[in-house]
Symmetry: C2
């Protein structure tokens, strides 16, 4: 399917066929497709905790306000952001690998690495979290489109209790919880939803005009 | 082009043909395609300030660390997030419009509106900004893919001085600056960049294993 069709066809799906499983290879393939997303300084801070087992779903259910897709979707992807991805170790390794694979010269490697380290070092904790959310948003959209393209349905879920989620999964402080994404085969189509036209949201060489 | 090709073909492009303009209608079409992205509670907090005029580009150049695409790309999209989008007025209007267009019943309208208002009211300022960054990340990825699909190149840019940008454009406090995206026709291909395989980033019913 082409992108325009994908963007228009995708709907948030909350009712799933509980008998449909997703193979680990298939889910890994979709995760990898989404990992082609860009990220600031190519830091790739996205990490994933995949939930398929029934006992863990049962514990997650009340944390996610009893939304039934926790039980019925083929898998729940907890998208995490790793704050360590913005540290020198990770940034230097990524650019070294790019250099070793012929993506760019040693000079570019060094420039990119130092620019990345300097950029993140200049951010306070709140700014770091904002950068992580943006990077992971790029990943999440790629993932939902890759899933749709492969015949799966998804729903992005911010509706959960963060503290309870962190406790349930014993998330260490270096992981930021970004969102849950349920993936499966819809048993009932999601409702349509409208979007405001870009013309009402844009300003040309000036701020958008308030409504 | 199909999605898989788009994801693999897209590269961050920093060298543009300065003689290529983008028609306002074409850019509006791409903005609208991206506006099909989902957002938390369908709040659609994305807003856009499009920069094409030379005097404004000249002023933006030093704010963006003299990155030459500010001058040579066909347009610069400043992606803004409107904190007012998370307020009752906007949320109620969006769900009322969905109801009036037959997307869902009055009961669902009321449920969705109250759930949305309650969700955002529960967030502090830092959590609100994180939600805005995530929503706008979903939009930004859709935009870059829509642009690529239409034969344009892009580069997402977090590298700018936020305070100087806000002053230059007189951004009011209800706008969060999310990122710049340059769009145009590449005059030189962006360098390849690698991605870490999902297998090294994923945990199955458990946290990902540290490297």
């Amino acid at each position: 399917m082409n992108l325009s069709e994908l963007l228009h066809k995708r709907r948030s799906t909350r009712h799933y066929d509980a008998n449909t499983a997703i193979e680990r290879d298939e889910l890994t393939r979709l995760l990898n497709a989404a990992c082609r997303a860009p990220s600031g300084n190519n830091a790739q801070p996205w990490r994933f905790l995949i939930i398929t087992e029934a006992p863990l779903r049962e514990k997650l259910l009340p944390v996610a306000y009893n939304q039934q897709q926790i039980l019925t979707a083929s898998a729940i992807v907890l998208l995490l952001a790793d704050r360590r991805a913005y540290q020198r170790d990770n940034l230097a390794r990524i650019h070294q690998e790019g250099f070793e694979n012929g993506c760019f010269s040693a000079e570019v490697r060094d420039f990119l690495t130092e620019a990345a380290v300097g950029f993140y070092a200049s951010l306070d904790n709140a700014e770091t979290d904002k950068a992580l959310m943006l990077d992971c948003g790029l990943w999440a959209m790629s993932f939902m489109l890759a899933a749709e393209d492969a015949g799966w349905n998804t729903v992005p879920m911010s509706g959960y209790q963060p503290a309870a989620l962190r406790e349930l999964l014993a998330l260490p402080p270096h992981y930021l919880d970004v969102m849950l994404i349920a993936i499966g085969k819809g048993s009932k189509e999601g409702h349509r939803s409208l979007r405001r036209p870009a013309e009402s949201l844009v300003g040309w060489n000036a701020l958008p005009t308030p409504d």
